[in-house]
C-alpha cells in the first residue's frame, strides 16, 4: 500500500510537471510582452536617457530574452521571485505577507458558501421538481450571474453607507485595533488564540462583506453538485433497502444518503477553492483587501512583472498540490475509486 501510494504520488507529480513548466514559460513571455518600461519607471522622475539605460542594465533587462529566461529559471530554483518595481520589496516577502489575507478570505467565503449551498442542495434534492427546487435553482444561478465587482460595490453601498452595519471596507482590520500576535497569520484564529474577542469581532466584521460577495459567486456550482449527487444517491438501491427496512427518514437522509453523496462535492470544493484564489482579484480590489490578488492586479496595471509572475506561479503550484491532495484523499476515502495513472 505504501509503495503504491508513493508511486502514485510521484506519477502524479510527474504528470503535473509539464503543466507547471508551461506556466513558467507562458508567464515569462506574457510579462515581457507587457507595454511600458520598468527601467524608465524605476529610474524615476526626470531621469536622463543614460540614467534609464543604467537602470536597465542593473535590472538585467538589456540581455536577450532567452538569457533573461535562463536567469529567471535559475532564480526560481533558488526561491528568488525577483523584486517588485513599485513597492521595492522582494516579491517572495510580499507574497508571504499577503497570502494569509487571501487565504483567510477565500476559506471564509468557501465555508460560508458550503454552509448555505449544501443544505440548499440537499433540500432541493429531497423535493425534486417542487417550487423549493426551482427557487434554489434560480437563487443560486442568480448568485453566479452577479459580477463580483458589482455585487461588492452594491453591498458596500447598502451595508456600510446606507445602513451603517458594516465597518468601512478598508482591509482586514481597523488600525485602531492591535494586530493579534502572529501564530497562524489568520487574524480570526490568532485573535481567538490570544483570547482577544474585541479584535476577533472586529476582524469578523471586516471579513463579512467580502466573504459574502465571494460566496454568492460559488454557491451555484456547490448547490447544483450537492443536489445532483444527493439525487443520484437517493435513487440507489441501498437507500431503497434502508427505507424498506423501516429506518427513519432522518437516518436514511443523513447517515446513509448525505455521507455518500459528499464525495463528488468534496472534489468540486477543491476545484472551487483554487478557482476562487485566482478569481478574488476583483473582490480584493473593491474591498481594499491586502491579499495577493489585489497586489497582482496593481502590479499588472503598472507593468511590474515580477509580482504577477510570482502570483501566477504560486497559484498554479497551489492548484496542482490541491488537486493532488484531493485525488489522494478521494482514493483513500473511497476504495471503489481506482485512480488511473
Amino acid at each position: 500500500m505504501r509503495a503504491s501510494f508513493l508511486r502514485l504520488l510521484s506519477r502524479r507529480l510527474a504528470a503535473a510537471a509539464p503543466g507547471l513548466a508551461g506556466v513558467v514559460v507562458v508567464t515569462f513571455c506574457l510579462m515581457r510582452a507587457l507595454p511600458g518600461d520598468p527601467a524608465a519607471y524605476f529610474a524615476g522622475n526626470a531621469a536622463t536617457k543614460e540614467a534609464i539605460e543604467q537602470v536597465r542594465v542593473k535590472l538585467g533587462l538589456d540581455k536577450s530574452l532567452p538569457e533573461q529566461f535562463a536567469v529567471y529559471v535559475r532564480d526560481l530554483a533558488r526561491g528568488d521571485l525577483g523584486q517588485s518595481v513599485t513597492t521595492g520589496q522582494p516579491v517572495r516577502a510580499e507574497m508571504l505577507a499577503r497570502l494569509p489575507a487571501s487565504l483567510e478570505l477565500t476559506l471564509s467565503a468557501l465555508l460560508l458558501a458550503v454552509a448555505v449551498a449544501v443544505p440548499a442542495g440537499v433540500l432541493a434534492a429531497t423535493r425534486p421538481g417542487s417550487w423549493v427546487d426551482q427557487a434554489v435553482r434560480v437563487l443560486t444561478t442568480a448568485g453566479v450571474s452577479l459580477p463580483t465587482f458589482f455585487t461588492g460595490i452594491l453591498l458596500v453601498y447598502v451595508f456600510y453607507y446606507l445602513l451603517g452595519w458594516s465597518p468601512s471596507p478598508t482591509g482586514r482590520l481597523d488600525s485602531l485595533f492591535p494586530t493579534p500576535p502572529r501564530v497562524t497569520s489568520f487574524y480570526l484564529l490568532d485573535a481567538l488564540i490570544a483570547r482577544d474577542f474585541e479584535t476577533f469581532r472586529a476582524c469578523l466584521r471586516q471579513l463579512a462583506l467580502p466573504a459574502v460577495t465571494m460566496a454568492l459567486f460559488v454557491m451555484a456550482p456547490l448547490a447544483r453538485m450537492t443536489r445532483a449527487s444527493m439525487l443520484g444517491v437517493l435513487g440507489s438501491d441501498f437507500i431503497r433497502t434502508a427505507r424498506a427496512s423501516g429506518l427513519s427518514r432522518r437516518t436514511v437522509l443523513w447517515t446513509y444518503g448525505f455521507r455518500n453523496a459528499m464525495l463528488p462535492v468534496v472534489t468540486t470544493l477543491g476545484m472551487i477553492f483554487s478557482f476562487m484564489l485566482g478569481a478574488n482579484v476583483l473582490v480584493e480590489k473593491v474591498f481594499a483587501w491586502p491579499g495577493i490578488g489585489s497586489f497582482a492586479l496593481e502590479s499588472l496595471l503598472a507593468s511590474d512583472y515580477a509580482p504577477v509572475q510570482g502570483f501566477i506561479l504560486i497559484m498554479a503550484t497551489l492548484y496542482v498540490l490541491l488537486n493532488l491532495t484531493i485525488d489522494i484523499l478521494y482514493g483513500l476515502i473511497d476504495p471503489r475509486v481506482r485512480i488511473e495513472a
Binding site: 503535473a16 508551461g22 506574457l30 443536489r227 507593468s303 498554479a316
Partner: protein, 282 residues
C-alpha cells in the same frame, strides 16, 4: 427536426416555466443586440453638459452620466458589443477546443499528449489573471478581449470533446463506417465530431455567461474596451465611482443588464441540458 423532437422541446420548455422565461429574455436581448442603435432614444456617444448626472426621469429613463450622455441609450447599445464579445469568444473557443479535443480523442498518441499538455497549462493558471495578462500584453482592443476569453475557455471544450470522442471511437457505427472504407479523417469529420457536439453545446451556453462576466471584469479594471465605447463592464466601472456619492443609476442599470444576460444564459444552459440529455438532468 422531427415532430417528436419538436414535441419534446416544447414539453421541456413549458414543463419548466423558468426555462421559458429565460428563453424569452434571451430573445429580447438578441433583439436589442440586433436593433440596438435604432432603438436607442439618444446618441450614446453624444455629451450634453447641460444635463449631467441627472437621475432617472421621463426624459432619461435611466438617467444621465457625468457627461450628460443618456444611460438608457448607452446600456441598450452596449448589448450588441457584449453579446458579440460573448458569442465570438465562445464560438472561437468551441470550434478550436472541440476540434483539438476530438482529434486528440481519435488519434491518441502525440496529438493527445500535446492537446492535454496545452489544456493542463492553461488550466493551471488562475484564469482571470491569464486573461488580464493576455490583454495587457497584446493591447487594448475588443479582438484581444475575445481572444483572451477564448483561450481561457479552451480546456473545457478540449477535455469534453476528447472524452466524447474517446467513447465514440469504439462505437458500433464508427466501426461500420470504417469497415465501409471511410478514411480516418472522414470518419472523424462526418461521424465522430458531429456526435460530440450536443453535450458541449450545454457547456457553451453556460460559458456564454462566464465569457460575458470575464469581458466585463476586464473592462472594469481598464483592459480591453476603450472609452467612450459603451460596454456594460466599463459602464459599471464608470458608475462605481459615483455610487457612494448617491448617483446609483450609472452603475445599477448596466450591472443589472449584465446580470440579467448572464442569468439568462445560465438558465438557458440548464434548460438545454434537459433538452439534450434527460438522463443528465441536475
Amino acid at each position: 427536426m422531427t415532430a417528436a423532437a419538436l414535441r419534446h422541446a416544447r414539453y421541456v420548455v413549458t414543463e419548466n416555466p423558468i426555462t421559458l422565461v429565460a428563453f424569452s429574455m434571451l430573445l429580447i436581448l438578441l433583439l436589442l443586440a440586433l436593433l440596438g442603435p435604432a432603438l436607442a432614444p439618444y446618441d450614446p456617444l453624444k455629451s450634453d453638459t447641460a444635463s449631467t448626472l441627472k437621475p432617472p426621469s421621463a426624459r432619461h429613463w435611466f438617467g444621465t452620466d457625468q457627461l450628460g450622455r443618456d444611460m438608457l441609450s448607452r446600456v441598450v447599445v452596449a448589448t450588441r458589443l457584449d453579446m458579440a464579445i460573448a458569442f465570438s469568444a465562445v464560438a472561437l473557443s468551441f470550434a478550436a477546443g472541440s476540434l483539438a479535443g476530438a482529434c486528440a480523442g481519435v488519434f491518441g498518441g502525440w496529438t493527445e499528449r500535446i492537446v492535454a499538455r496545452i489544456s493542463d497549462t492553461i488550466m493551471a493558471f488562475p484564469l482571470f489573471v491569464l486573461a488580464m495578462g493576455i490583454v495587457a500584453a497584446l493591447g487594448n482592443s475588443v479582438f484581444n478581449v475575445i481572444l483572451a476569453t477564448a483561450i481561457i475557455n479552451l480546456p473545457f471544450y478540449a477535455r469534453m470533446a476528447r472524452a466524447e470522442a474517446n467513447v465514440r471511437r469504439e462505437a458500433g457505427f464508427v466501426e461500420a463506417a470504417r469497415l465501409s472504407g471511410n478514411g480516418t479523417m472522414r470518419v472523424l469529420a462526418v461521424h465522430i465530431y458531429p456526435n460530440c457536439l450536443p453535450p458541449m453545446m450545454v457547456q457553451a451556453s453556460l460559458n456564454l455567461g462566464w465569457a460575458m462576466l470575464n469581458a466585463a471584469g476586464l473592462a472594469f479594471i481598464g483592459l480591453g474596451v476603450r472609452p467612450p465605447t459603451p460596454e456594460w463592464g466599463i459602464l459599471v466601472a464608470e458608475g462605481a465611482s459615483f455610487i457612494l456619492s448617491g448617483e446609483w443609476w450609472i452603475a445599477l442599470f448596466p450591472g443589472l443588464a449584465l446580470m440579467l444576460a448572464v442569468f439568462c444564459f445560465n438558465l438557458m444552459g440548464d434548460g438545454l441540458r434537459d433538452l439534450i440529455d434527460p438522463r443528465r438532468r441536475t
